[in-house]
Assembly symmetry: C2
Homo-oligomer: 346 residues x 2
């Protein structure tokens, strides 16, 4: 197979007439070894171009200094920012990240988690797919004693931690804002109710409506997914129903983008004919026209919390108490759903 015979600890030990233990210790800065020896060893190591073998190291030490991550998607602003934050935090804590992508496919999710377990990651950070229903794999993770932290799309499993944004509160703020502007006919493109973010964002919508004593029109709560397609179809359904709302609260920004496309096709205008706001910021919300107001999720905090919590769990495996952390959201107001909208304060 043309195996490239790597340089090993032994090679450099022989070169220096010391034992490989000495080299190993020196490389890890073990206090056993004298300064001069350590220096000499490090010099030789870099001269000979030695690269330690993590496989061997991990096998021997029974730990990997690695956190496995499973996300449903990455070509999506929320997830790519989240992942960037995860990598960043891990990097600063000297942990490696092994990222896998389930592509919203729960079978693939299971396979990836098995791989990660097989790689003997020290901990796991998971954001589940839209179709994940079966908990079995997560029970397996728990049984193997691997710290597990869910992010954003979470499952309620005892012994695991979770980091979520305050979906319900964020939704509430958004719909509240629309109501204060004077809108009464509010529709919600709601994703899927089985997914926790779908349910929780719906609840926030519901809270706001209740607080204003407004009934919820079931025809105006439309499920169908979290992507552009869902937004497009959702709006078309509203449009064709002959009973249009004044305002749409979209469960994600891709759903909102889908609505933009559909509205354009329908010949209507945002925000005059139909106003909109969504949950989730992205790099483009400010560049689309009209610029899109939204509920912002601080992905940097999410990622940081997820990694730090997982590391905490790893390092204090016997005493760690799982935590459910909720990160607050904030409203970002732009051209849609603003005081300049047609219905404002009427």
């Amino acid at each position: 197979m043309g195996r490239s015979s790597h340089i090993t600890l032994d090679d450099i030990a022989k070169q220096l007439n010391v034992s490989k233990v000495t080299v190993s210790k020196a490389l890890r800065g073990h206090p056993d070894i004298s300064k001069e020896t350590t220096l000499l060893i490090k010099k030789t190591v870099s001269e000979m171009g030695y690269t330690p073998n993590y496989m061997a190291r991990n096998l021997s030490s029974q730990r990997s200094n690695t956190i496995g991550v499973v996300v449903p998607k990455i070509a999506h602003f929320f997830f790519s920012s989240l992942i960037e934050s995860i990598y960043d935090t891990a990097f600063h804590n000297n942990y490696e990240i092994i990222l896998t992508v389930s592509q919203e496919n729960s079978e693939r999710e299971v396979k990836h988690i098995e791989s990660l377990l097989a790689m003997r990651v020290d901990g796991l950070i998971v954001s589940i797919t839209q179709q994940t229903r079966d908990h079995a794999i997560f029970e397996k993770v728990k049984k193997q004693g691997i710290p597990l932290t869910f992010v954003d799309r979470v499952l309620d499993i005892p012994g695991t931690s979770s980091i979520t944004v305050d979906d319900r509160g964020g939704s509430f703020m958004a719909v509240e804002h629309a109501l204060r502007l004077g809108y009464r006919k509010i529709a919600h493109l709601a994703g899927y109710p089985e997914i926790n973010i779908g349910l929780r964002r719906y609840r926030g919508f519901e809270d706001a409506m209740k607080m204003h004593d407004l009934p919820i029109n079931p025809d105006w709560v439309i499920y169908g997914g979290f992507d552009e397609e869902a937004g497009y179809r959702g709006f078309m359904k509203l449009f064709n129903s002959g009973n249009m709302p004044e305002f749409i609260f979209a469960v994600t920004y891709p759903v909102a983008l889908g609505v933009y496309a559909a509205v354009e096709e329908s010949g209507l205008k945002i925000p005059d004919d139909i106003d909109i706001m969504c949950f989730g910021n992205s790099d483009v919300n400010r560049f689309i026209s009209p610029s899109l107001s939204c509920v912002n999720q601080p992905t940097d905090k999410l990622g940081k919390a997820a990694v730090e919590l997982t590391i905490d769990h790893i390092k204090n495996i016997d005493t760690f108490e799982p935590q459910q952390i909720e990160i607050p959201t904030e409203l970002i107001l732009r051209q849609t759903c603003s005081v300049n909208s047609k219905h404002a304060y009427n």
Copy 2:
């Protein structure tokens, strides 16, 4: 440390009164083992919740079935799509991916590659940072005999493969199109010339200008980076110079988005006052207003080619001939730079 004592091959071998070799072989579908035994073993394995230890497996077999990937960024449409494609292709070829993110920082890039080498990946796919100048680490990779494939942002290193899009041809097409519409005063926000995509896209721009016997105004070729910030500052520089072009060719879509923001601030209008087109599609190009025409890079083909080429190299380590593959681009025409633009055919 509260180590979770995992179940090993031996455990299940003892349970079944066979040797661990038998179990190992059965699990890998080795033809040595009879069907019944294999079935029995697999049953026991899943009953006992055994997860093979890849560390041990890889150490022993001297291969990892893993490809290391280094990208400069992921919260960017081009890279996140590329990565998705890489994961997808690897998945279908039964390879694992270990992704690392250099954050456009070349020191971090080096560290990540060292980690990947230490993990004994079978091959490496790299898209370099904007500041990568030093080749040393890549020479090290070569020296260790690890197949190396560059994607998009490439380095010319003998013995390595590269997958790029036809930057020059794509740029040429874009600028050509603008010229055909009647534009003559063409500016180019050009990224950095040291980065190959910067240089190549500039060349395409140059080709088109030359073909139409138009001189290139050096004041209208502005370097400064590949992000929104660069686009914003680039446009402001043009705007404040008092000598505005009619058309801007932006080296990336974030640069174009930066221009959109700056144009809005300046009080001008796209495409009437200034028209624009960019290299690189994204999920938002069609949703911004006016929708943004661009040169599309087929990220799915890029990722697929990169992975397949790398695997090919891994499997035929002695005979493999490095390849430089160039993937063609296509023009996507939307509202900017269209026949409806002010200058069209005048």
